[in-house]
Assembly symmetry: C2
Homo-oligomer: 381 residues x 2
Amino acid sequence: MSPADLYLNDVQTPALILDEARMQRNIDRLAEHIGSKGGVLRPHLKTVKSVEIAKRLLINGNGPATVSTLAEAEIFAEAGIRDITYAVGITPQKLDRVAAIRAKGCDLTVILDSPDQANAVVEVSQRLGQKLPALIEIDCDGHRSGVEPSDPTLIEIGTILHEGAELRGILGHAGESYEVYGKEAHAAFAEQERQAATKAASNLVEAGLPCPVVSIGSTPTAHAIENLDGITEVRAGVHTFFDLVQAGIGVCDQDDIALSVLTSVIGHQRDKGWIIIDAGWMALSRDRGTSAQRVDQGYGVVCDESGDVIPDLIVIKANQEHGIIALRPGSDAGLPELPLGTKLRILPNHACATAAQFPAYHVVPTSRDAPLKVWRRFRGW
Amino acid sequence: MSPADLYLNDVQTPALILDEARMQRNIDRLAEHIGSKGGVLRPHLKTVKSVEIAKRLLINGNGPATVSTLAEAEIFAEAGIRDITYAVGITPQKLDRVAAIRAKGCDLTVILDSPDQANAVVEVSQRLGQKLPALIEIDCDGHRSGVEPSDPTLIEIGTILHEGAELRGILGHAGESYEVYGKEAHAAFAEQERQAATKAASNLVEAGLPCPVVSIGSTPTAHAIENLDGITEVRAGVHTFFDLVQAGIGVCDQDDIALSVLTSVIGHQRDKGWIIIDAGWMALSRDRGTSAQRVDQGYGVVCDESGDVIPDLIVIKANQEHGIIALRPGSDAGLPELPLGTKLRILPNHACATAAQFPAYHVVPTSRDAPLKVWRRFRGW
């Protein structure tokens, strides 16, 4: 043991704990599933925001990636990732930054769903003398953005891009699959996502336009999909860590969740059955993604320091730096005695939101007796 | 104009915008109110997490302060603030860090509400040969932590501290005042907070114990309090910026809110009346603090680029990097035409939560034609 070695017991709370073995199991599970169908994964790095984890998540450590901000694109490009899709609709003001990232040798692709955006891409392409590539976002479930596959606007956008920039293909995201439970329902959304994407691709091709990329994906549909006909790549992100929302819709089990918040007991209100901890919403995030699910997990499920779930104990309330732990409503389990200073771990509702509250991961290595690793996380836009 | 000058139009979105004139007005308002009662303010710096803003908020720029994390205490102590209360119940593991901050010349006080914590403070005081000061947290409204003023535990804790460390006094926080509307209701909570605190102080003194500090405060009660008899200091934090939650309970008006998120329109779903922006929950936070108020403001109220509210337009939904703007349910206002690239500003539900999502403030100076200032924000524990 060197003087710098850090163990769980030394970590100041609250802290973000990552179980490396669980993470690797989650990464392998999806890679094997998509690989067994002959598909290509383009993992979304918005969840992890860490170069160390990207190396473990991407094919060969630097394969195709998806990002949600240009800050992610800049940092991952700098780290040697050469094929990135920026999967949030582009606004004209950001195109010069996109071009600057491309000029450094990263094939960064934007997405869009309007002729105005396509014209902006063409304008910048012409001004800079380089054809910027763009995917057309399609709407496969009414979730948020995108043009419908049969909307003539699709061909209009495709034509603008093909003539003045680079029409790279289409992209769909079955965001509504998060709202349904179980593999059968997710498989139905996956097929709907696939059909919408391949229909849009056919429509482009029938109009004499190219469509080399047909990209779909969400964590629930990626794990459920059986048929990848016509699909060139699949995207998913939160599966790297998983969380209570994904467990709540049956995509994973609670013991697949690789991320937790280490916290300390700082007080008790014994008359009320409350245990106060030093993890509030600043650590756990305000995400209440399980609130409308079959089981509302409050601000998170309580585990002991080694990560084993304590039955029926959840965080019922969160202030900025205080969490209140209590038994789940209706529970007949007894409230455990958790004295002052007891360390606990809280499983998060939403891994993307909870991880975003921390500047670093404290990584419990696969060899659990070894010291922790600390991996930096970044943020910003 | 120097090459480095930055104006609102140059800022990449999303970004955190701070209106300096509004902030100064908010700071002055509470300082004048408490000053007119002969009281002393100990502002809470958990909202701002910025040395630049602390200098404007504290008495003489470095007067008494409250913090919510030891990271705040370390950074503000380093910046020359010499009197800090760490207002989250202490856990034994953190006491060495507390002592290290004190050793650098900052009078850092901890709070606690149990004999176990008091014994831990005594143990560290004896081990280090310095009497660590502590305030006893009292419960004035059942909100969260604290001992009740008439609970004999109060005297037990006080005795332990007085004999083996330093009993600095008591601290109360009327957290439930956020749940009621209007100055009259807040004044009632303020009086309840004052009575609980002075009762606890009297009980300590009657038991032969010292109680030099009697500290109360929350943003609603601090603005409503009329009688400070027996109170030595008042705490508040979110009033520096204000937010929709505070406007929703009548502590401020919407045009007092000094903080907003600058965002760009990135798409439209015209059939649904949706405008898509590049500020999702990563920028706005997941806080939905107005959801149970008289008017639910969704994920925030939409303003134009200069900060004027657009009638009935709110952020109805937020994904990680996407927000969906629509008219408030039941509105008969027309949906404005906001073309691709239009800049908007979103007023936040909860300033503490939204500010925490950003690494810096972009400050619109009091002289609005001057370039923006950029003030760093920190985070972590």
